[in-house]
């Protein structure tokens, strides 16, 4: 070991975020060159007569909301359990169903019934994610396997709850939640992301959740011997994910004004896991950065919007997305980094280093 003095160099920090930041930068730059008008922001009047901001940037940030929220929860579960919950889309649909069902139980949507619906929604999703959490923490089942159960039957449960294909709720309150609040030109879902982000930030500030989660994720045996309850921490991560999923489900449902168990939050589990990975987090658990995952979510949405703006057929977007994903994760791969560094060194200091190693001999 080196005898270097203590506290000289601070590692970590921006390091993990470098790749996603660069990726986002390249995307931004690409769009700037392709079409400077891409970034124009305008004001328009929507169907309900509200003034709203329009433009690609606004729409990217707006439509990535559900993904960003779920990615935050997913990061915690990933960190604590070393695996991912692939049932978030299905459970989010259940959340939507409960939301609609509760609202429909009353003749009119008021703030009171809305609050009740939100609470009911959170309670039910927490119930479902706790089911996952119990399998993972108590029965020690791999997260992906445990959540495969709800992944395969969650949407059916959602359908069974509402009892019809696409029940609708029509109310200015709901459309305000899904689109814009009269008088505020910024889409409401964005506030949802900010709210969830702030709450999580507050939790990290006021509790030791980060340290505990990382400890459990890295070495749960050691964490237990230091008085941490790994089962509790894992359950907690699933509960927090549950709340995130509930919020995302409510936003998604409000946006559409209906819950469609076949399409609501479809494939969001895959995108959320991607967001976590693009954000530089280790899918095997341990240390994590939620900001990375949020960044990852916006990169994914930015990519989709860019492709759409380039008139790529929406059904083909997946293929392009795949390529960009591979490029990003390759850039983050330590092996690739090592190889590139070696190559760089050979080009730059090739001669000098060879001489130095000869000298040692």
């Amino acid at each position: 070991m080196s005898e270097r003095s203590i506290g000289k160099k601070k590692s970590g920090g921006v390091g993990q975020l470098l790749i996603p930041l660069v990726a986002l930068g390249i995307l931004l730059l690409f769009n700037l060159i392709r079409d400077p008008g891409f970034y124009s922001i305008g004001v328009a009047v929507n169907n309900s007569g509200n003034k709203v901001l329009t433009g690609n940037i606004v729409s990217i940030i707006d439509s990535a909301s559900e993904l960003a929220i779920i990615a935050m929860g997913m990061t915690l579960v990933t960190a604590a359990c070393g695996g991912q919950d692939i049932s978030v889309g299905a459970v989010g649909t259940i959340a939507g169903s409960i939301f609609v069902k509760t609202l429909k139980a009353f003749p009119e949507v008021t703030f009171g019934t809305l609050l009740l619906a939100i609470l009911a929604c959170c309670a039910v999703t927490i119930l479902f994610t706790s089911f996952n959490g119990t399998l993972v923490s108590v029965f020690k089942i791999q997260p992906m396997i445990a959540t495969l159960i709800l992944f395969s039957c969650g949407r059916s449960i959602a359908y069974w709850i509402v009892g019809s294909a696409t029940p609708q709720v029509d109310s200015p309150i709901i459309s305000a939640m899904g689109m814009t609040i009269p008088g505020i030109p910024i889409p409401t879902p964005i506030f949802g992301v900010v709210l969830v982000g702030l709450i999580l930030a507050a939790i990290f500030r006021l509790t030791t959740l980060r340290l505990y989660t990382e400890s459990v994720g890295v070495n749960q045996g050691a964490a237990r011997l230091n008085g941490i309850n790994p089962v509790g921490i894992k359950m907690l991560s699933f509960v927090i994910l549950g709340i995130c999923v509930a919020v995302a489900g409510i936003i998604g449902t409000s946006r559409m004004g209906q819950v469609s168990h076949k399409t609501l939050l479809i494939d969001i589990e895959m995108d959320a896991i991607l967001a976590v990975a693009i954000g530089g987090n280790n899918l095997g658990g341990g240390r994590f950065k939620i900001s990375g995952s949020i960044l990852g979510a916006y990169i994914i949405q930015m990519l989709t919007t860019t492709l759409l703006a380039m008139r790529v057929d929406p059904v083909n977007i997946k293929a392009y997305k795949a390529i960009v994903i591979i490029v990003i994760v390759m850039a983050g791969s330590p092996v690739v980094k090592q190889k590139l560094t070696a190559l760089w060194h050979r080009i730059r200091f090739g001669g000098a280093q060879a001489a130095a190693s000869k000298g040692v001999n």
Partner: protein, 359 residues
């Protein structure tokens, strides 16, 4: 330490994977017997069982593919997408050949199917093994890519019109003595499709590979403890790479088999079948953590899923959401069962160890 006698005749206790497999086969037998008793009719005929094979040949093949990578401690969720892409590409190629009954056209189509699978296998295997990127992400990208390419080829369904292929597909292996006598007195033999035979051959080959080939044992070692495998002189990277190449090849083959069963391509072919394949592997006793699993168990895992499907299709509950619920419940049951059984065994082992140390 007590020095236990090295007993030559003593039978070893079942290993984890043998135990889990035995349970799976047992449950399948009980389930099928129950269906015979309570549902009667079709279930009393061999054809019903053969139909399970005929309808699920592609699923059986990709489940084998999944079992291989899962034993090696990996995952591959692109298999369904590769089936979709292969089916679409082959259907378009067959229709485009012009010569409607050429055998060559069919052979080339077959090679095309394997080629697509191989390409995905090699690409994904390279990224996962040599660049050390997380398999879930790589194969997720593979899934996106294959689905995207499928819709690029054609958004609309493509029906195969190639007569030679359609004729080939109609071939059945008829086994008279397993058949039954219809009401009009005719003997109707039990029929097995080519795809089902291919699937069974794949199961046997994969079993032999995993059990008796160096490659197979290296895959187990890799899943058991990667670091140890490396220290034991196993080329870990190459082994992992090959396991993904095989899974890619099998996915391509599954695509061809799928096309033989249903000669038409469309964007939603084999949608989410990767999850069914994972479920089948798990039900068959393969652990996602790697090192434990058996392709025979996987075969019965697929058969369990197929039987549930059949039972529900024949029952008054025939709605897709009942189907999904039943699948979920079955999966949950198996997962819990495995967790409890393995947990208990772990405890016994610990106790065993202590008595050995004591003695």
């Amino acid at each position: 330490m007590s020095v236990k006698q090295i007993g030559k005749t003593r039978r070893e206790p079942l290993t984890d994977s043998q135990l889990l497999m035995t349970i799976t086969i047992g449950i399948f037998a009980v389930m099928y017997a129950a269906a015979m008793i309570f549902m009667g009719g079709g279930f009393l005929r061999t054809q019903q069982f053969f139909d399970l094979l005929n309808d699920n040949a592609a699923l059986i093949i990709i489940s084998c593919a999944l079992t291989i990578v899962m034993i090696g401690g990996g995952i591959n969720i692109s298999v369904g997408g590769v089936i979709g892409l292969t089916v679409m590409a082959c259907a378009l190629y067959l229709n485009g050949t012009g010569i409607q009954d050429s055998t060559l056209g069919i052979v080339v189509t077959f090679l095309l199917a394997l080629g697509i699978g191989l390409a995905f296998g090699v690409l994904q295997g390279f990224l996962i093994s040599y660049l050390d990127i997380q398999p879930f992400i790589v194969t997720l990208a593979g899934m996106f890519l294959s689905r995207g390419l499928t819709t690029m080829l054609s958004v609309n369904p493509v029906k195969v019109t190639h007569e030679g292929f359609l004729a080939l597909v109609k071939n059945r292996l008829a086994i008279p003595w397993l058949g039954y006598t219809a009401k009009n007195g005719n003997l109707i033999p039990a029929k097995l499709e080519i795809g089902a035979i291919v699937a069974l051959v794949v199961v046997v080959l994969v079993y032999l590979m995993l059990r008796y080939m160096k490659l197979g044992r290296h895959i187990y070692a890799l899943g058991g403890n990667q670091q140890s495998a490396l220290m034991l002189g196993i080329n870990v990277k190459r082994t992992r790479f090959i396991s993904y190449v095989i899974s890619g090849l099998l996915s391509g083959l599954a695509g061809f088999v799928f096309l033989m069963h249903k000669p038409a391509g469309n964007a939603s072919v084999a949608m989410r079948s990767e999850m069914d394949a994972i479920a089948a592997s798990i039900i068959g006793g393969t652990l996602l953590t790697g090192g434990v699993g058996n392709v025979i168990g996987t075969f019965f895992g697929t058969m369990i899923l197929a039987t549930i499907q059949k039972i529900i299709a024949l029952s008054p509950l025939n709605e897709s959401w009942w189907q999904e619920m039943a699948n979920g419940a079955m999966l949950g049951l198996f997962i819990l069962l495995q967790s409890v059984i393995l947990g208990n065994r772990g405890k016994h082992r610990k106790a065993d160890l202590q008595t050995v140390q004591k003695g």
